[in-house]
């Protein structure tokens, strides 16, 4: 296993370095001079001295290779510089918004798993029945529905329902309160966004569970279990589902990293001040330091998630680490 871990770490490093190089190059492809954009945002005129000073401040007057080494070194120290828009350290900006996004991501994962595994397994066991068709349509619907539209519609439903039942319309709170301070207010804020993001996540995982279950149900050991007279419930729970969950675990891990993409849009719908919304604001305000830090953060989360998923997979299925 240690050998496998070592080999996987060796793959993670070039991927992260490559991603850093790509982000570095992309941000330098921005048309025009970053300093002209920065100084021009105030609307006044600026002299070449101010531009040169800005170049020196950002360190872009030095050779590109040195700039790249500096960029990677700063990233390793979690020093992303200051936001070009607010002037605050990028780490502070991200740190302040991380808990809300992280909570929605975890809640969405819990909701997705709670829906996907039982429904996916049921769909496979009841293959080609009306239950199967219903579950499949539900899953395909989840993949086709944009999360932001689902968010708007769910808000509309909550608004009309509370208005009809209680007389006054109710909207989920938008201010973040830690769960240990006010659990009800916290969940009232996070639940709808988590369901909105979790639906697509559940749909993808449900399809994978169904497909993996169908494959496993055709295996010889399932036939053997049936031949020796084992009851269906035991065959499904103990033999089929356990083995079918391997690819599902992988998918759940990968999709967790993709949740960040979903959050970018969902936080906008629910007016939540999370990392996703910060990203959109950074792009809108042409805040390149913040944008590059957020892209690198997302990629790192994705690569690290993939790494742990691979380790988990290798731990669960010894054939992987010995191949």
């Amino acid at each position: 296993m240690y050998r496998y871990i070592f080999k996987r770490v060796l793959l993670v490093i070039p991927t992260l370095l490559g991603a850093a190089a790509l982000v570095f190059v992309l941000m330098r492809l921005v048309p025009g001079d970053v300093c002209v954009v920065r100084l021009g945002s105030s609307g006044g005129t600026f002299d070449p001295k101010a531009i040169a000073q800005c170049h020196a401040e950002l360190g872009i007057d030095r050779p590109v290779v040195i700039q790249f080494i500096d960029f990677v070194w700063a990233f390793l120290r979690l020093d992303f510089g200051t936001s070009m828009w607010s002037g605050a350290p990028v780490t502070t900006e991200i740190w302040a918004r991380l808990p809300i996004s992280l909570e929605i991501a975890i809640l969405a994962t819990v909701i997705a798993i709670a829906i996907a595994i039982p429904l996916g397994a049921l769909s496979a066991v009841k293959q080609n029945t009306w239950i199967d068709i219903l579950v499949r349509v539900f899953a395909v619907g989840g993949i086709a529905t944009p999360s932001f539209w689902l968010g708007i519609v769910s808000l509309l439903i909550v608004l009309n329902f509370t208005s009809a039942v209680f007389g006054t319309p109710w909207m989920p709170p938008i201010e973040y309160v830690p769960i240990w301070q006010d659990p009800i207010r916290n969940l009232a804020m996070a639940f709808l966004p988590a369901v909105t993001v979790g639906y697509r996540y559940a749909a993808v995982s449900m399809r994978m569970t169904r497909s993996a279950m169908l494959e496993v149900m055709q295996e010889d050991y399932i036939r053997t279990a049936r031949a020796k007279g084992l009851i269906n419930k035991l065959i499904i729970n103990r033999h089929a589902l356990k083995n079918a969950l391997l690819p599902v675990v992988t998918l759940i891990g990968i999709e967790f990293a993709f949740l960040i993409g979903g959050l970018v849009v969902t936080e906008q719908v629910f007016n939540l001040n999370g990392v996703g919304r910060l990203f959109v604001q950074a792009v809108q305000n042409q805040d390149y330091t913040l944008s590059q830090a957020l892209v690198m953060l997302t990629v790192t989360v994705f690569v690290v998630c993939n790494f742990f998923v691979d380790l988990l997979y290798a731990w669960l299925d010894p054939r992987i680490r010995f191949s």
């Binding site: 490559g18 991603a19 395909v140 993949i143 086709a144 539209w149 497909s211 950074a282 944008s291």
Partner: protein, 300 residues
């Protein structure tokens, strides 16, 4: 000496499978894949709507009518009007064209570039394959919407830039899948035969390998159309995609849709339904195509 004669029995079904005309195979697809057929109908409806927008849209999609702001659905405006009095049905019809342009261009360009890189990577193998695979690893570490946002941050908004932003992340995804199929084809004797005949790399890749990876390629491209339509809608909703006055479904859900959701819910509902139906159509057709082209999944 006893002589035995054996007759080769060929069932009519065998002949049908191998030599059936495309019309009969299409009919068999319709019979077997009812959900896929429904998806195809939705896709064709979206395409026809987008292509004939000028002919079927009852109003100019960008014309404001301040006397009919936020009108509920009626005979005059079947899907109602938005906060500027623009006819929603006309905007949705023209929005189909935008979705079609972005969806098809991104999927086709991303798919074709991915196809060439994937097959090339498998064909050349060795160091070329190793380098390309690491590049794909890096590109695939960026979730689609994040990569698209990064590209928009650099090149700016607008239809063309949105197409570029969505195309780039699709390339490695297609290349990965196609490469896996092409690796198996590389070992097949006819590729060796082509090499022995002195054919060039381009000819072998384009005429001998590419046609044989068409099944996974078509499945991927179909899935990409749906993903691209969703990504375009998301970017436009964020205000970073298609810009006003171009009618686009995601853009229609921005601003007014949320603000007036309680008083004029049709502004929020109908553009979303259009997105769901079009992506649903593409996905259902893609699933059916996969089941048809991949025999292992046919009976599932």
């Amino acid at each position: 000496m006893v002589t035995t004669t054996r007759t080769l029995e060929i069932s009519p079904d065998d002949v049908v499978v191998s030599r059936a005309p495309w019309t009969r195979r299409l009919l068999a697809f319709f019979r077997r894949e009812s959900l896929g057929t429904f998806g195809l109908v939705l896709m064709l409806a979206m395409t026809a709507t987008g292509l004939s927008a000028e002919l079927i849209a009852p109003y100019n999609p960008t014309a404001n009518d301040f006397g009919a702001m936020m009108d509920a659905p009626s005979w005059a405006h079947p899907l109602g009007t938005d906060q500027f009095g623009r006819d929603l049905l006309s905007r949705i019809i023209y929005g189909a064209r935008t979705a079609l342009i972005v969806g098809l261009s991104s999927a086709l360009v991303g798919g074709v570039v991915g196809l060439i890189l994937g097959v090339g990577s498998a064909y050349f193998g060795g160091r070329t394959d190793l380098i390309l695979q690491r590049v794909f690893d890096v590109l695939m570490a960026f979730p689609l919407i994040i990569m698209a946002l990064a590209v928009v941050a650099i090149f700016g908004t607008g239809v063309q830039n949105v197409i570029i932003a969505i195309t780039i992340p699709l390339i490695p995804r297609c290349a990965r899948v196609v490469r896996a199929s092409a690796l198996a084809i590389r070992e097949v004797p006819y590729v060796d035969a082509a090499r022995a005949l002195g054919y060039g790399h381009t000819r072998i890749i384009l005429f001998h390998m590419v046609p044989n990876v068409m099944a996974p390629f078509l499945i991927m491209v179909t899935a990409f159309v749906g993903q691209a339509v969703l990504a375009e809608a998301s970017l436009s909703y964020l205000g970073l995609g298609v810009q006003e006055p171009v009618p686009a479904w995601g853009l229609m859900l921005q601003g007014g849709a949320e603000e007036y959701a309680a008083t004029a819910p049709w502004i929020a509902i109908f553009p979303g339904v259009a997105i769901v139906l079009s992506v649903l159509g593409v996905n259902l057709f893609g699933d059916a195509l996969r089941d048809t082209l991949d025999p292992k999944l046919r009976h599932r």
